[in-house]
Symmetry: C2
Subunit: 292 residues, 2 copies
């Protein structure tokens, strides 16, 4: 099974995730307008980094099937989609463009965008609880990563850091660990748990997730400074315009690039003893070199 | 144990719920401003109908302890608090007053109110998953009731009913079953599950929850028409002012009062064979005669 599983192509995983996201919404018997806005917010776009990580981490444990990993994968993508819908709202980041299309509140109005985000969060938990292996542990990863992510969004948007967190570098670490780091770490952990990984393997993939979570965010911060909105499919340069702390703003571009390389190596190191980790290695490489 | 459990006073339950709500927020290591807004939104007010129902249903099964039922109870109260915070937002019901105090967005701003609601939802799931009995089933009750409640809010605020739901009475049933009914039903069910109820008992307490969920809403609709804002601690007469469908608006006041009495009897009937249901019976009686 492990050889077969590792041989699944990225395209097959992406299609399975897309189908599972749509099916979770469609079969739930939601208010039709709610379902429409939730589909808009979660389907037909995005890099699907979190669900693919969950699935690849699960398969790397050597015992999981794609199907058994879909609940964890779908749950994290719904949480991610929910966070984007609410972050884009006028009273938060006030963004008009996301994945190359109008943001959910621009397309459906603010009331429905708020409720669609809420519904994506609760549906994520329902789906996580359908995991055939350890539904309670998978769901706990989803809920706790979600709470941490919301803490990160509060730090990022409103500040109010703990009294002992004064230096910019420390505050930035708190933002990144929570805002992007928690979901990526949680996706890797939940995949490992749903994939039947041993405690040691779950720990290794947790450290892997922490390394690439920060790496992903530093790359994102650099792209926000150096790319156009058209390339990114979302508003570029917003972090700087809003005076938000970013890795290059706090540490400089050169040091940011060195940190990316060091996290890249750390991530690969965590994968060293896993049986079917080649696709994860390629994925990490492509996350470093991505341009959007 | 069942005799002792049934003898727990309401005041002791309310205090235990209040302490558990506060502890769940305080020990979570949240961003300080997020924690502050979540405390404001969930502590120091409210009738605590859902957590008390969860606990009383659990105790009525004869095997649960108060402590073992707190996770289910706290989870439903957090979901309820989250729903109030988001429902009160300017783009939804645009309310300034709740539990006799400024609504969360009036006190903390819209951005933090949105994020505090989000955080109450995810923390609810974390707490549900700490249930010592059946954490996955308890959490599923919380998440699925939450999704249904959000559907109900969409119907209530934005309409968009399914094509086969045309008559006002049918639409109202869809709103009530989801918007208020789902959480009350779920609170009863999750208490029964966490309290070790048999399948037959869980079914009976599900029907009990459905009856009092609708009863609670019809009473609420009548109070909104007949009481003042000062008595209610929230804006009275808003349903009518916003042209919302209510039970008395669709069926008239007389029929509404008869329906309350019939649901009251139905609820009591569901409790007939339970070992320790006296406190539940008193609770149902007081829900019928409440004036706020």
């Amino acid at each position: 099974m492990s050889t077969v599983a590792a041989n699944i192509q990225d395209a097959a995983i992406l299609q399975a995730v897309e189908d599972a996201l749509a099916a979770a919404i469609d079969r739930r018997g939601l208010a039709p307008r709610l379902a429409e806005a939730m589909r808009y917010a979660s389907l037909g776009g995005g890099k699907r980094v979190r669900p693919v990580l969950a699935i690849r981490c699960g398969l790397a444990c050597g015992e999981g099937s794609l199907e058994a990993l879909l609940p964890a994968a779908v749950a994290f993508e719904f949480i991610h989609a929910f966070s984007l819908v609410h972050d884009d709202l006028p009273s938060l980041d006030n963004d008009d463009l996301r994945r190359g299309r109008p943001t959910t509140h621009r397309a459906f109005g603010e009331a429905l965008a708020i409720l669609a985000g809420d519904g994506l969060q609760s549906l994520a938990l329902e789906v996580a609880l359908s995991s055939p292996r350890h539904p309670d542990r998978v769901a706990h990863e989803v809920a706790s990563a979600c709470t941490d992510m919301i803490s990160g969004q509060v730090y990022d948007t409103l500040g109010g850091f703990p009294a002992d967190t004064v230096a910019d570098a420390d505050r930035l670490r708190l933002i990144h660990r929570n805002k992007t780091g928690a979901l990526i770490r949680g996706a890797c952990r939940s995949g490992a748990i749903a994939g039947g990984g041993s405690t040691a393997t779950v720990d290794r993939l947790t450290r892997f997730g922490e390394a690439i979570g920060l790496m992903f965010q530093v790359v994102d911060d650099i792209l926000d400074e150096t790319q156009t909105s058209a390339t990114l499919g979302k508003s570029a340069g917003k972090d700087k315009a809003q005076g938000k702390m970013t890795y290059p703003a706090v540490h400089g571009l050169d040091r940011s690039r060195r940190v990316i390389e060091s996290l890249h190596q750390e991530a690969l190191g965590c994968l060293r003893e896993l049986p079917a980790a080649d696709p994860l290695r390629s994925m990490v490489d492509s996350l470093v070199t991505r341009t959007s």
